[in-house]
Structure formats: structure tokens, C-alpha cells
Symmetry: C2
DNA sequence: CATTTATTGCGAATAAGTTGCAATAATACA
DNA sequence: TGTATTATTGCAACTTATTCGCAATAAATG
């Protein structure tokens, strides 16, 4: 199952690389210049996740969001970080805030999905 | 919009009260003795959440799970806590582990949804 | 250039959750 | 205790996110 390079793959990866926010399939489809099928976008994203190039966030709305962030490049340092969902501008971003936890004996953690929801700094300021 | 007491409401509340795990609508429907419509269960659960009797967790599977836990009784102390999703026994439970975070300036947090996924203590031991 | 097979598009399927509407039943009050 | 008010319920239909089967397309390899 060797991976192949396709325009689709490149386009999605570019978009994610240049985005400061985590993107949903929906958002990706809208922002792409080229028309790519919904199912294809999901498949490309799922492959990225399998290959650990991208991480997946599930927000309180139950939707999946995808992000590449600088911290992902040094996973030893900050394996899991908080995400922030802004209800005002409806975006999700990676925070430079590590997730610290100490689970009770016997629990084995394989992954963490931590999302804080509220108003981001941009939108908080916009009020004043 | 005063709340009324109904058998449905009581049954769901009882189930949640006696459950050590967070339950999905699906699980609730199955565990109930009486047959209650899917939509009704959701409406009852949503009302519980509005009234702060129950809290809602969204897991990595994108599904909603509902729980009453002791910590919820003293929300000042431990407002947010981690949840644990066990892939082995397919359950979600509240951990007595508080969520600590320090968001950057300007961010306003309204809620937190933090789920750790892996193998719970029961299932970890089951291997040996 | 030909072969292999990963990738794509399409349509349909699945699953979670919500909504409109009419019927039912819990509460308040005469 | 009977009646009016309206919260709650069941049903069916709808929405939205995500996946899947399948045939067609197009990377990679040699």
C-alpha cells in the first residue's frame, strides 16, 4: 500500500500547512481551488492521519477537524496539546498548552482529545 | 417552561444515577425496561443538561455520552475533569482527575471537553 | 510503453441527532 | 374533583457527517 502523489493530496496538504486553524472537510472543500469530491477529501485526510502527518480533533459539535501544527513536528516534547474552539468565529486552533494528566493505576492512555470552547483572543478584543 | 415529572424522565435519571459509566442515547434505550422513543430520550437528556443535572461528553467517535457524577455536585471544586474512553469495553467514565490549563491572554473558556482514550484498569488487568 | 494497483468520483448507505406536528398527560387552579 | 393549560411524548421525516462499494482513472515501476 505505497502512497502516491496526486494533485488532490498536494492541494489538501498545502491548505493545511498554510492554515493557522484546524479545518473540517467542509472548510477544506470550500477553500480549495480545485473541486474535489467529499469522500476523497475524507480519504486523503484519513491517510494523512494514518501516516501521522496530520492530527484529528473531534470538537463538541461532534465534527472532525484536521490540523498540522509546529508542535506535531516534535511529538516527544508535547505529545498532546489543548485545542480551542471559538464559538464566535467558529474555528478551532491548536494551543501551545500541553495536556497534563495523571491517570489512576492501570489505565493506559493511547490518545487524548481535549478541546476548550469559548471565545478566542481575536473575538474577545473585537467586542471593546 | 416549567418542568414536569414523567415516568420517562424518572427512568432515565435513575439509570444515569446508578450507572458508573457515561451513557449514550443508544445505551440508555437498550438498558431501559420501558420502551422510550429515541427522540424523547434525546430531549430528556438535553433538558437535564440545560438544568445542569447531567453533563455531556463528546468522545472521539463523535458521539454524545451523558453522565451524572459525584464531582458534578460540587462544581466549584472540580469544574472540569477528564473522561476516559476504553476501547476494549467500549465505555466512557468520569475520572477524578481535574483538567488544568492556562490559556493565552484574551481567551475565554466557557466549557471543556477532555477525553483520554485507551484501556481502562479493568481491561488492562484482564490481559494478565 | 505496458502493467500494477493506489486513488478518485459517484451514488448510496449508515448513523447520530433534531424537528414538526398531532396526541397525550402532568400540573395548577377553580 | 373536574377542567384548562401547556409540557411532554411518539412518530415520521429530515439534516448532517462520514463511510463504503464499485467502476474508472492515473501514478509509479520496470
Amino acid at each position: 500500500m505505497n502512497r502516491r502523489n496526486t494533485p488532490t493530496k498536494e492541494a489538501v496538504l498545502n491548505l493545511l500547512s498554510n492554515s493557522k486553524k484546524a479545518l473540517s472537510q467542509d472548510a477544506i472543500e470550500k477553500q480549495l481551488d480545485i473541486k474535489i469530491n467529499r469522500a476523497t477529501i475524507y480519504r486523503v485526510l484519513n491517510r494523512f492521519c494514518e501516516d501521522d502527518m496530520v492530527h484529528r480533533i473531534v470538537a463538541e459539535d461532534g465534527k472532525q477537524y484536521f490540523a498540522i501544527c509546529k508542535k506535531c513536528e516534535k511529538p516527544e516534547d508535547v505529545q498532546y496539546h489543548f485545542h480551542f474552539r471559538c464559538l464566535s468565529c467558529d474555528t478551532i486552533e491548536c494551543l501551545q498548552v500541553p495536556v497534563n494528566y495523571a491517570v489512576p493505576n492501570g489505565y493506559q492512555v493511547q490518545s487524548a482529545n481535549c478541546v476548550l470552547t469559548g471565545t478566542c483572543s481575536d473575538c474577545s478584543q473585537a467586542v471593546g
